[in-house]
Amino acid sequence: MEFVSLEGFRLDGRRPMEMRQIRAEIGAVAKADGSAVFEMGNTKVIAAVYGPREVQNRTQQINDQALVRCEYSMANFSTGDRMRKPKGDRRSTEISLVIRQTMEACILTHLMPRSQIDIFVQVLQADGGTRSACINAATLALADAGIPMRDLVTSCSSGYLNSTPLLDLNYVEDSAGGPDVTVGFLPKLDKVTLLQMDSKLPIDIFENVMQLAIEGCKAIANYIREIMLENTKQLEYRRGI
């Protein structure tokens, strides 16, 4: 199938190096300590953060750092085929783990010993790149909760179809069965903290594809910073400063 036309347009009209439209909103769940909604095209994810708070199960308490927990789920209506998905299936367990590890790597856990941080992410609408959207939403929610972090971790995916590296695959491109690279990135430290790929790629092409995903992460980081700045301004305004 032709995923990139000879004129250089993808099926949805983007060029290979273009991201979908992204949108973020801080503070969607008032009850949580921090929350955010993150959209990448038609993919829409909500994240809520509770903590740092007392560890609920004392046996899990860690004496020199905070316990980070993550729960990922997909809303039953998220894919449109109205199928009831069992909780805790292998895919969501794996994604929960990926998100937890990625977030744990950037939270300054040693500043909050004997406490617990809970991250809940739910996919409201899925159209490819849910993993990346979840990480971006979680970052914003953590920042909203005021949890100390080394850097903002952002994530973006890229793929390789019709011999062209493509940024930010949507569902149609994702299900083409080509290679799919998801990168988690710390923009200030210039470090990759997450790297996942399905299928195989020759090493030289892989490097290009990964670099593209990193560029995507940087763009998202810029956007997230803007959103946070704006959010802070609004807070200032509300407090009447």
């Binding site: 949805d12 009209g13 273009e18 991201m19 195989k200 020759p202």
Partner: protein, 934 residues
């Protein structure tokens, strides 16, 4: 950085469950006109001075592609909506349009209207897909008109009445293709315009007044819905129609639903289907099966048969089982095969054909236009009616004609003239025809392909020598043995006597994959060409000349990269060990077969090279005899060789190709290398190896051989290849040529070996019948066969020195590569044969000859003879064509004899006759070779 453009979102509803897709509409798509002030003109394709910019409707692109390919039509904007529609309807046309759009000499610009914010149109309620697309085309035309603001005229070309009417109503200038071409004032272009067959546009119809023409000749094709349900219920069968190359009135449809081939006899039953069309077939009642067959034979004898080259396999030979009528013995055999008739055509395989017009007198006063009948060189294609304004010009030319339509009322399809190749009979023209007919790409290599070549002069670098995967074999006494004058040497050999008494024998093959990298333009081109093509007077290379004749060619006294297979053999030629390695070699001698033979035969020569040759020859003979013991067939072919005048390229002499021991020696080691490599790659890649198999002939295929043999009292055992090989060995008659003749007849009963992907078949099917080998592949000629390039990559990957390119993980793709290779090889062979036939004709034009011939087949009005000296065969008529079946002669089917009624003369199969060969011209400019008894 990236999403700074204005995007508007659009959602699209799906069928059952709602599908939501984003569609980004953009403002950074440019119009492609350099005169435009608003757009970035760096990517503009249209001419700066264009006064008119054409926008084409889908129907124009689909029907008038031949016209569009003419450089007179230029400054065209192709809308992406049109391209998509064309792609869905006809992939062949789509590829041609795409080629036009990427051709830097043409000014075709693709405008992605579906992604542009101003030209995207949303489907309206109750609007059909077609109407929506038509509207999109009009919106784009309107956008161009306002965007360019009168700097150039924007003209919509459409042959759809409704679309044209609406366009004009919306203020867009629109014309039909006919009126546009007329306005160009180029009468020669008008021949290229396809006459509309349907109700779209009324043209001044030139009525054919002969009353017979108005009669319904063919039955109506069933509508698609009926065909689909018929296929579903099992009353129709779907398959690709294959017309018998030697009898255009007989066709086969391979049907999966009944697991057998359905035979279609006669044009009426074929019901306007062409060779290669996908058709729906209905079986005829069983009692009609034989009846139809005899009808077709009656048809067939009307066809002229030409003198042609001796077939080299069953694929080249006529497939009819028995041409002689009147015997009742074979009724059962014939009626066991189902016959049917075509009820509908699912997919047309129409393209353009090479040929010439049927000679006809110039019509008087018809206003410059005339109807003429076009006869294709390919006999499978029916005559085609064309309408031309340049009849006088075309009569003696080879031309290309494309088919447009075929309605029920006309005996022949109608088409239009595409272009002229040259004078009939002119050698260059006819060679060109051979190439076009066989779909052979003889264009020079593109600059992208040439850019993949290493810089010249090339030599082995120190990196190559230091590369740990490459063994330095430069101190070995390597040599090559090839036909005289061979420039693309892809194999070389060495043979070293070891102290243990064993021999180390190496086959060194040009390391083509070191230069041809997977996925490069060079690789794509080679993969498409599939093979080099050898015509009598020229060679069409698969790879560019610097590679074939220099960088890869294992010439003497230069260092070259190679891929080597090295065995240790006992003096009895048993393989003790095999190893494979990339290497650097330096050949010490490039011998011709004659030179190598002369060295071995000259007992005074005792130099090391000659000793190596002799050792190899001894080993080769042992390997050969063992192979024959296993049942390998030694088949005979009648290959001819021309001596060509270097100045005029005319043939000077013609003779049989002589095979020497030296040829057989080299061939033996190449076979061994291929077998060893096949073993190795299959062991590592059991599902994606490219192998070569030769299916065992069925008893039915061997039938003609058995009948001929029986007539001369010879009993052949065909139960296995070994049994056949042995009975062929026993078939020695009184005359020395008898055995070879029988072998030649056996060869033409076999099909050809084919490439396949190992995952597609089960191991017992891998068998190579002719070589009696369970596994075989091609490794030894990567310069001139693409299959060998693939096998080199597989071998390198199985040694772990390179990774396997990704196409090998994709079995369907590998299968389609194998299919393409088979197609290209077949075409290359046909082209070589056609080229030899052409030169035979040129040779005999000035040299009427008497010679000896052998009768190989009896027919009702004469017999077919084989002329051993020139490797051709053709008919000798005993009765004039007009008095067909004339009572003077009768056929004895049992003994394969034709006798005169009064018993004064008789001819039997395999008998020697003296014949006279002469070129005659029964019709002006249509020379043919005629065989008569002296």
């Amino acid at each position: 950085m990236l999403h700074s453009k204005t995007f508007v979102k659009k959602t699209r509803g799906g069928k059952v469950n709602k599908q939501v897709r984003e569609h980004y509409l953009r403002d950074d798509i440019y119009c492609g006109a350099p005169i435009c002030k608003l757009c970035d003109s760096s990517a503009a394709r249209l001419s700066p001075s264009a006064s008119t910019i054409l926008l084409l409707d889908t129907n124009v692109v689909l029907n008038q592609i031949d016209l569009l390919e003419n450089p007179a039509i230029d400054d065209v904007v192709m809308l992406s909506v049109v391209l998509d529609e064309v792609k869905n309807k006809n992939m062949g046309v789509y590829n041609r349009v795409r080629a036009l759009c990427s051709n830097s000499l043409r000014r075709f610009f693709v405008f992605a209207n579906e992604h542009h914010k101003d030209t995207f149109v949303k489907e309206m309620a109750k609007e059909s897909k077609n109407d929506r697309n038509d509207r999109a085309i009009r919106v784009a035309a309107q956008w161009y008109q306002s965007h360019l603001g009168g700097a150039a005229r924007v003209l919509l070309i459409t042959n759809d009445k409704e679309n044209k009417r609406k366009a004009i109503a919306e203020g867009i200038s629109a014309e039909t293709i006919e009126s546009y071409v007329k306005s160009l004032d180029r009468p020669d272009l008008l021949d290229l315009v396809v006459q509309p067959s349907s109700e779209d546009v009324e043209m001044e119809e030139v009525e054919d007044l002969r009353p017979s023409k108005r009669k319904v000749i063919y039955t109506e094709h069933k509508p698609m819905s009926e065909i689909t349900s018929g296929l579903h219920r099992g009353i129709y069968h779907q398959g690709k129609l294959r017309v018998n190359r030697y009898n255009p009135f007989e066709a086969y449809v391979g049907s999966e639903s009944i697991g057998d081939e359905i035979i279609i006899y006669g044009r009426t039953n074929m019901n306007r289907a062409f060779d290669g069309d996908v058709v729906a077939v209905e079986l005829l009642p069983q009692d009609q099966w034989h009846e139809e067959k005899s009808l077709s034979i009656a048809d067939e004898e009307d066809e002229e048969e030409d003198v042609h080259l001796v077939p080299s396999s069953a694929d080249d030979a006529p497939r009819t089982t028995n041409l002689v009528q009147g015997s009742s013995g074979d009724t059962n055999a014939v009626s066991s095969r189902p016959s049917g008739r075509v009820v509908g055509i699912i997919k047309r395989n129409w393209h353009s054909y090479c040929g010439s017009l049927e000679p006809m007198p110039m019509p008087a006063g018809s206003g410059g236009t005339a109807h003429a009948l076009f006869v294709s060189k390919d006999r499978r294609i029916p005559k085609i009616r064309i309408h031309t304004r340049q009849l006088e010009n075309l009569l003696n030319k080879r031309i290309i004609v494309a088919v447009d339509s075929w309605d029920r009322l006309s005996r022949y399809p109608s088409g239009h003239y595409v272009r002229t190749i040259g004078e009939i009979g002119d050698r260059d023209t006819e060679s060109e025809v051979v190439l076009i007919e066989n779909d052979i790409n003889s264009r020079p290599f593109s600059s992208q392909v040439l850019a993949c070549l290493p810089p010249l002069p090339w030599s082995v670098s120190s990196e190559d020598l230091a590369n740990p995967i490459r063994q330095d074999l430069r101190d070995l006494r390597v040599f090559s043995v090839d036909p005289p004058g061979c420039k693309d040497i892809d194999d070389a050999l060495h043979c070293t006597a070891l102290p243990s008494g064993n021999f180390e024998v190496g086959v060194h093959i040009a390391d083509v994959t070191n230069f041809v990298h997977p996925g490069s333009p060079l690789d794509d081109e080679a993969s498409q060409r599939g093979t080099s093509v050898y015509l009598v007077e020229r060679r069409i290379d698969m790879l560019p000349k610097p590679l074939t004749e220099d960088i890869c060619s294992l010439r003497s006294d230069v260092e070259r990269l190679a891929f080597s297979v090295i065995w240790e053999l006992t003096p009895e030629a048993d393989i003790i060990s095999t190893r494979y390695t990339k290497s650097v070699i330096k050949s010490c001698a490039a011998l011709s077969y004659i030179e190598a033979q002369a060295r071995m035969d000259d007992s005074r020569l005792m130099d090391p090279l000659t000793t190596d040759l002799r050792n190899m020859n001894v080993l080769a003979k042992k390997m050969r005899s063992r192979r024959i013991e296993r049942g390998a067939l030694t088949l005979a072919s009648a290959e001819v060789k021309f001596q060509i005048d270097t100045e005029t390229h005319d043939p000077l002499d013609i003779g049989m190709y002589q095979i020497r021991e030296a040829n057989q020696m080299v061939e033996e080691f190449m076979l061994a290398a291929n077998v060893s490599v096949a073993d190795k790659i299959l062991k590592h890649f059991s599902l994606c190896s490219l192998l070569r198999r030769h299916p065992s002939p069925t008893r039915e295929m061997l039938e003609p051989l058995l009948r001929t043999a029986a007539a001369v009292g010879l009993n052949l055992d065909v139960s296995s290849s070994k049994a056949l090989a042995e009975s062929l060995d026993r078939a020695v008659g009184d005359d020395p040529y008898f055995n070879k003749l029988i072998r030649i007849l056996a060869t033409r009963c076999m099909t050809q070996a084919v490439y396949f992907c190992s995952g597609d078949l089960s191991p017992p099917e891998y068998h190579h019948y002719g070589l009696a080998a369970p596994l075989y592949t091609h490794f030894t000629s990567p310069i001139r066969r693409y299959a060998d390039v693939i096998v080199h990559r597989l071998l390198a990957a199985s040694l772990g020195i390179y990774k396997l390119p990704s196409i090998f993980q994709d079995r369907p793709q590998l299968t389609s590569i194998a299919d393409n290779l088979n197609y290209r090889h077949r075409n290359a062979q046909m082209a070589s044969r056609a080229s030899v036939e052409l030169h035979t004709l040129i040779y005999f034009k000035k040299r009427p000859t008497d010679t000896e011939a052998r009768v190989v087949k009896i027919r009702s009005n004469g017999f077919i003879v084989f002329v051993p000296k020139y490797g051709i065969e053709g008919p000798v008529y005993l009765t004039a064509r007009s008095e067909k079946g004339g009572g003077e002669w009768f056929v004895d089917e049992q003994q394969q004899k034709i006798k005169k009624m009064d018993g004064s003369a008789s001819y039997s199969v395999l008998q020697t006759v003296r014949i006279h060969m002469e070129v005659v011209e029964p019709q002006p400019n249509r020379p043919k070779l005629q065989l008569t008894l002296t």
